[in-house]
Subunit: 582 residues, 2 copies
């Protein structure tokens, strides 16, 4: 039985379904249509094309063997037909037909199917402020805009750019504009932090610092009111207003605007055909990736799926998910029974010379999902500390207080692959709802050039285990910095006197330095300080990265001085998110 | 109740137990004894000290804050006593005492305990050939030998070295001797391959090639007969004989011998006290790390535990395991109930500029454990192939044929952290006995600088899934190379004509080149070749790394030509384990 399979969309999921289906079924009739002329490209590579890592646009739609993934390629090599510049207008489910428009010929027609795959992707949101459709306002979603952006920059037409949105694409584009081209770039973001969907405040702050250190101007909690300009000159400036409303409107002159304010699933076609749409506007599918019509599959950026940690439906525009889902759809169209059960939200990004990764829920997302999140933060070298190219990695682990179930993990550091290694090792466990002790005992591979004997990922588990057991009482670094600014606190710094001295000098009333190896001999001194503290004011314990202050807390506990709090991640964490204190 | 806890051994597990125990219990009386004077060192760092990555010996027993981990450190900072140069002679279980010898004072005494921890580690094996106790024959197990090795080399006394054993330590030492010091180094190994406990033949061959490329001479399947020399001059040469017995004895002149022929758990003390010892000579413990005497715990290199994939008992001398077990022992001594359920054998090693990692069982280990192993091998770039610093990674996945349960994973590539990321992402799943489809859908984080949209780890799962489903029929690369050498086979190379031409020229009778995009138009040509092949002689399909030849196989299947086999990993795999074919 040679069925007819029609696939709408030829970027990521569409071609994947078609290629896999052809490999496992030589007879099925496969047609892929796309309204664009350029197809099967790595959209996530666009910032790297603009930033010069990928020299030619063709690099984004070529195979590793340098074959262009175009219509003849799919015909001759992959064995199926792709019709470009053909737009799907309507799905006639009863008749199993799709009404299409041949854009170049200006005529309409119908294509039949036995099985239909909707791979229509997502469209960048154009927020409803005036001017978002002016020339020189670009989105980062297709190769035409990518090409136009790079052409404008390389022609020297862009001195100043405004990026609207500090999600992954906004940040990657800001890096591309700044790093290679030296464009003076400002990111405007509505939320209080960058990457609000991906990271907690501390890791986000590290990203913000990294952007600022590389000359990207960051305006958070700011709302765009309008883009000024005209059809002839294009965008000329962006007007923004502080979310608090306290400050007057600011105008940011610019030669280019990048709209990176998120994407919206292209589900209109499915909705019009009566298929169920989810609360995130994505097409609803079952675990076999079938829509509410069993002859119609959907996947990739236009479909919803379950977040396996929160249990809630979500959309996540990622080429990796699209590829994995595409393989499953092909198998199932061919009579198989593969399932896509959902996602734990694994994510990573390069921000200049820093890698950041996460999986699962942030603290805020965990709260929204009804959990009572507790977290640990550690700063530790990403390989044996005696190894010469060891770098600091920051890692955060989040669990539910009552059940001790691990909910999320975040990490950042200069060695992106090493950061990814830790997060990807935790991610596969998240859907099993494991106890924190699984992370304490996570069996990551060990050798001094690549890991510590007690690795950072085990230690972030240990720190959380200690917190849940009541052995470790911490204060959030931001909270600590606020209190220090207000002034009325006492800090016991257990680093060496050389390290502690400048702090004691700068904060004579707040800062006490007793090196850890003198704690026992100078205990009376510490006891006196603690006993003079008001009961609601703990002694804050500080060291380089956290372990020594934790050990100090344990020591003081043993002496009956339990009114202490450990500054998680120590001064290393402060330096990562804040200007130096001295 | 302040109990007395006595810990025998102060290298890895011992200090970990003591430190953790002190943190969670300020009152318990903790004493650690060690027969050596240097304690709490990173033994796994010795090759990096010899190789110059770690400048000073002190680096191996210092904290990240540059504190020396010596007796005063443990007293003043960690809050417990360490007695060095004190050897445990006998455990009197009924009396709960340990008879000890104060080595420097030459007297014996007794130490009491309520709970005892045996952390006696392992001793390098000195194989029973003559000369293994000569001067200039070193083991890599303590800092005294490490220091002596480095002193001899830096004094220019070592032009030629022989390393006996091609396990991790032998390889790391060979790299250290060659890379920094230019010592002419030969590794002698009894097995047919390096790292026989860790890797399958293909990945091992990559390590061998890397060693040879960096000037290390490798003599496999060779048995050491004796070390020649005398007490005055020390070792002068090593006599070896081919395992086949076909060749005469070879003599390798040398100025230094490194014995790296494995280690043996130090379980004699425990055995003499009547504690149960396992079949690997390690001390048997339950999941709470208690020996057969519930008041005596054991862990680290001297204890056995379960391999969670094979179900068999094993020993694995690794600082990471010792640290994690140490934490559990401390918790349990303090009345907790933490469990160490076993290990999946995660392992990684740096071999010059290549990283190698594995978890679970090799094909041979899987066979020994009663499985019917099937495996896939893929070669793929370790980040988006369009990203400029993408490198090739080789990855192997092993599963049981009938149950499809994932049994093991191996990977190698120039970016060690990226290699580790893939293996560590699979490792946590191994103990759950997951289906191969879990690897196809493994949710590793994705961004072009760090991964492919269909990442190498997913693709190695896909290839294995295709193999198990019968969609992919492969030949092992070594087997293919053997057949090619014998000559009587046909290879269809679907790479470009530029790439294929030299092969056709060199192998005119064996090699046919039809670029993949011409397969359909030149099908008749291929059909004729296949139909003329004897039924027991398949057409071997070859491309750059495997995917195009797999696709070709699918295409030919569809045309009824099913007598084909795919060369897994393609020519890329051949180049990684064999000299170039042309």
């Amino acid at each position: 039985m040679a069925e007819k399979v029609l696939i709408i969309g030829a970027v990521a999921l569409g071609p994947k379904v078609a290629c896999r289906l052809r490999r496992i079924n030589p007879d099925v009739d496969i047609t892929v249509i796309d309204r664009d002329s350029l197809i099967s490209y790595g959209g996530c590579g666009i910032p790297y094309y603009v930033g010069g890592d990928v020299a030619e646009l063709e690099g984004l739609y070529s195979t590793i063997a340098h074959a262009k993934r175009d219509v003849p390629f799919f015909k001759n090599v992959k064995g199926f037909n792709v019709l470009t510049r053909v737009e799907a207008l309507e799905i006639k489910r009863a008749a199993k037909k799709v009404v299409v428009r041949y854009l170049d010929e200006g005529r309409d027609g119908e294509l039949e199917y036995d099985k239909l795959v909707i791979a229509t992707g997502a469209t960048p949101m154009r927020p409803p402020f005036p001017g978002s459709d002016l020339p020189k306002v670009y989105v980062v979603s297709n190769l035409h805009h990518a090409s136009a952006i790079k052409t404008a920059i390389s022609n020297g037409e862009v001195e100043r750019a405004v990026v609207i949105g500090a999600g992954a694409i906004g940040i990657e584009m800001a890096e591309a504009l700044t790093d290679l081209w030296g464009v003076e770039t400002t990111i405007v973001e509505m939320a209080e932090q960058v990457l609000p969907q991906a990271l907690g405040k501390d890791m986000a702050r590290m990203v913000e610092k990294k952007l600022e250190d590389h000359g990207v101007k960051l305006l958070l909690s700011q709302k765009v009111m309008k883009i000024n300009g005209n059809m002839k000159n294009g965008a000329e400036s962006v007007e923004i207003v502080d979310q608090s409303g306290k400050f007057p409107v600011t105008t940011l002159p610019c030669d280019m605007v990048i709209l990176a304010a998120g994407v919206r699933p292209n589900s209109e076609l499915a909705a019009a055909a009566g298929l169920a749409i989810g609360r995130n506007r994505g097409i609803l599918v079952n675990k076999c990736m079938q829509t509410t019509d069993p002859n119609i599959y959907a996947g990739g950026d236009c479909a919803e799926f379950t977040n396996l940690v929160s249990g809630m439906d979500c959309v996540m525009p990622l080429g990796s998910l699209a590829n994995r889902q595409g393989r499953i759809i092909a198998t199932n169209i061919n009579g198989g029974n593969e399932q896509f059960t959902g996602s734990v939200g694994s994510f990573c990004i390069k921000v200049f010379d820093m890698g950041v990764a996460k999986a699962g829920l942030t603290v805020n997302q965990a709260k929204s999902a009804g959990f009572d999140p507790v977290y640990s933060v550690v700063a530790q070298s990403d390989r044996a500390h005696f190894f010469p190219d060891a770098d600091f990695m920051f890692m955060k682990l989040i669990a539910d207080r009552k059940t001790r179930t691990v909910l999320g993990v975040e990490a950042a550091g200069p060695q992106g692959d090493a950061v990814k290694a830790r997060v990807d090792a935790v991610a596969p466990l998240l859907k099993f709802g494991v106890d924190v002790s699984e992370i304490c005992n996570l069996e990551v591979s060990y050798s001094p050039p690549y890991a510590s004997a007690m690795d950072v990922v085990n230690n972030v588990g240990n720190a959380l285990d200690n917190t849940l057991n009541g052995n470790l009482r911490s204060i959030d670094t931001f909270e600590f910095l606020e209190l220090l600014k207000k002034g009325n606190i006492k800090v016991l710094d257990v680093r060496s006197s050389v390290q502690g001295a400048p702090f004691v000098e700068k904060y004579p009333k707040q800062w006490i330095n007793v090196p850890q190896d003198e704690l026992r001999s100078r205990f009376n001194e510490i006891e006196l300080i603690v006993k003079n503290l008001p009961s609601d004011s703990p002694l804050y314990l500080m060291c380089g990265t956290g372990p020594r202050s934790y050990e100090t807390q344990a020591f003081l506990n043993g002496k009956g001085l339990t009114n202490t709090k450990n500054v998680q991640g120590g001064y290393g964490m402060i330096l990562a998110i804040h200007p130096p204190l001295v």
